[in-house]
């Protein structure tokens, strides 16, 4: 039996806006095993952002239970959740969120700074290792503003991987990228998936789900479908099928 990484039990989240109570999540339950590549799909307003915040331990549910790597997190203190975010979760954002005017290595080192278990000497080593893994071994000292969107997102993925988290949480990770670069990033995610990483990919784009092993669809704060994808599309094949682009340089 596979190890259970995420278990959500009847998660509800209500917000009070003025006098109105908004029910963003109305009882979401599912589990994710280690090594799954899950796409969480939903239109805006479906509650997927709220779910992502809760999964990422940035927010706590109004009711329900959330177990991450076997640890119940919804009752944790703020500081404890910060530690969980640091050691168990790797965030990847739509707009990369790299520190400006900072080199790739320094950006990737960032989570290690907040991890007291990693001695300062090892940080650089680990950062370089993670950057090589995402194919940026030759751009270690490039500053974030000197890189293309795709490269910046790779740095962000390296940053998410550097603390060896149990789960990668990607929030519209390809939303700011063109088709080709999106596919490249997806290929990277697929490589990580093949290497045994657990990935949660949140998107509104239904095409993305074809590249993952499982799709959970949300609507109005509820899970409306949860399907396994037997026929996973290979991003690299798609990439090869793309017509050759001459304006790549311009784009970059």
């Amino acid at each position: 039996m596979k190890k259970e990484i995420i278990r959500l039990v009847d998660i509800k989240r209500r917000f009070t806006v003025g006098n109105e109570v908004v029910k963003a999540l109305r009882g979401v339950s599912f589990s994710v095993d280690a090594g799954e590549f899950v796409t969480i799909m939903g239109t805006s307003g479906s509650g997927k952002s709220t779910l992502l915040n809760i999964l990422g331990c940035l927010d706590t549910p109004t009711s329900g239970e959330y177990y991450l790597d076997g640890i119940r997190t919804d009752t944790m203190s703020k500081d404890k959740r910060a530690e969980i975010r640091n050691s168990k979760i790797g965030f990847i954002f739509q707009n990369y969120n790299l520190l400006p005017k900072t080199t790739s290595i320094e950006n990737v080192e960032l989570p290690l700074i907040y991890n007291p278990r990693i001695p300062a000497k090892q940080r650089r080593e680990k950062a370089i290792e993670a950057l090589k893994l995402v194919g940026l071994g030759d751009r270690l000292d490039h500053k974030s503003n000197q890189m293309s969107g795709g490269q910046q997102q790779r740095v962000a993925i390296a940053r998410a991987l550097v603390n060896d988290p149990v789960i990668l949480l990607a929030d519209e990770a390809t939303g700011n990228l063109d088709t080709r670069t999106s596919l490249e990033i997806l290929a990277l995610f697929q490589d990580l998936y093949k290497a045994g990483r657990t990935i949660l990919f949140v998107t509104h784009n239904p095409e993305m789900s074809e590249f993952s092993s499982r799709t959970i669809s949300l609507r109005d704060g509820m899970v409306i479908s949860d399907t396994r994808n037997a026929n996973i599309k290979d991003a690299r094949v798609e990439l090869a099928a793309l017509p050759k682009q001459d304006d790549v340089i311009v784009e970059k």
């Binding site: 975010r85 050691s87 954002f93 520190l99 960032l110 989570p111 700074i113 907040y114 007291p116």
Partner: protein, 406 residues
């Protein structure tokens, strides 16, 4: 999250905005520099006044009959004579905080030597007086106890008097001069002391045994005053108390009744004179303090801008595991660093400006270590105080909103 990391982050943040950081620091730099310079000028003038006063005889105490100073009120003639030789002897015998005591009687008049004459003052005292007033004998000797007992007609001569009476440069030693018809043999010449801070010529005097002046010049048997010196300046107030006690006992003054004498110490004179410079120091420090405050507000302002500007960075740091206190410390250290570096530059600037003032304008200055420490402590506190609020704001940001902040 250790301190070295926080320090590195703060340095990097400042490094990316060097000019803005410098402008922010400028407030602190000017504040600290002005605190140091202003205090140095204030302390310098205070010290120069102090040293001028101590030239008059440090820790000197002056005892006068009280009623003498009640100007405007009709006086009982006998009250002027309230100080007696017994008072002097009582002080000599009983006091523990007094190092030297001398009775004092003075007479103004004309000193005459052959065809020259000059107006001067004759001081009737004992040899202790020289110690109390810091007079030194350059040639000859001081009169002795024997001279006092025998009402000897001997005197010491001040530089001004000697210049006026012996304009040809001949030595006054051993010569006889007349003071109000009384002949005096000059047995010693006083070293020149120059003018005092009040503009009085301290060399325009003759010093003779007090008994001689009492009997042969003034024909009185009371004292016009008593001079004394406390063991040291710190003991001055105790010595004053002690002398007052002795004199009240001697004069049989009842509990609660007014003294018929007055004891004044240099401390009083010093404080009187330094109160002006103290006020100046206070005013200058106020101005300097205000500029530090303005500098601090500058830091607060820029820290707020910095927090707003870096909201997304804060959100990111939080989402990858930074705790509230990590963020708080990060911004606090940045603010402290700003004021700290500003403070150090300010100290250098302040010390330089102080020396420029000293050499260019010739003002007396005195940089006291405590003023440097004070301004440094104040600017560090300024950093913490004014950095705290923006840092707190940063730490309390909601990571969910911060990370999506545009």
């Amino acid at each position: 999250m250790n301190f070295a990391n926080l320090f590195k982050i703060a340095l990097r943040a400042l490094n990316t905005n060097k000019f803005r950081g410098f402008l922010t620091m400028l407030g602190i730099i000017i504040g600290v520099a002005s605190v140091i310079t202003m205090l140095a000028i204030g302390q310098g003038s205070k010290q120069s006044i102090r040293s001028q006063i101590s030239e008059m005889g440090s820790n000197m105490l002056m005892i006068h009959p009280g009623s003498m100073r009640m100007g405007g009120v009709r006086q009982d003639a006998s009250s002027m004579q309230s100080l007696k030789i017994e008072d002097y002897k009582a002080i000599v015998n009983k006091s523990r905080y007094v190092a030297a005591v001398s009775p004092s009687v003075t007479s103004s008049g004309q000193a005459i030597y052959s065809s020259n004459n000059t107006p001067t003052t004759l001081y009737g005292v004992n040899p202790d007086y020289l110690e109390i007033r810091k007079y030194k004998v350059s040639e000859g000797d001081v009169f002795s106890e024997q001279d006092i007992k025998t009402f000897a007609k001997v005197c010491l001569i001040g530089k001004t008097v000697s210049d006026n009476l012996f304009p040809n440069g001949e030595s006054p030693l051993g010569r006889y001069i007349r003071f109000n018809k009384t002949p005096f043999k000059i047995i010693g010449i006083l070293e020149s002391k120059g003018y005092n801070s009040m503009g009085m010529d301290q060399d325009d005097l003759l010093i003779a045994p007090y008994t001689t002046v009492q009997k042969r010049v003034l024909a009185i048997n009371y004292l016009q005053g008593i001079y004394a010196s406390a063991i040291n300046e710190e003991m001055s107030p105790k010595a004053v108390e002690e002398i007052e006690e002795i004199l009240r006992f001697n004069h049989k003054i009842k509990e609660g009744a007014d003294d018929n004498f007055e004891v004044r110490s240099q401390e009083e004179l010093t404080s009187m004179l330094t109160s002006t410079t103290d006020l100046m120091t206070l005013l200058l420090s106020c101005i300097a303090g205000i500029s530090l405050l303005v500098g601090g507000i500058g830091i607060m302002n820029i820290m707020y801008v910095s927090v707003t500007e870096r909201t997304r960075e804060i959100g990111l740091r939080m989402s990858i595991g930074a705790k509230g206190k990590d963020i708080l410390m990060q911004f606090l250290i940045e603010a402290i660093l700003l004021s700290f570096v500003g403070g150090i530059i300010g100290i250098f600037l302040g010390v330089s400006v102080t020396f420029i003032v000293k050499f260019a304008a010739g003002w007396p200055v005195l940089i006291q270590p405590w003023s440097v420490l004070l301004s440094f402590a104040v600017c560090s506190l300024t950093g913490i105080f004014f950095g705290w609020y923006p840092a707190k704001k940063a730490a309390s940001l909601d990571p969910i909103e911060a990370i999506r902040y545009e």
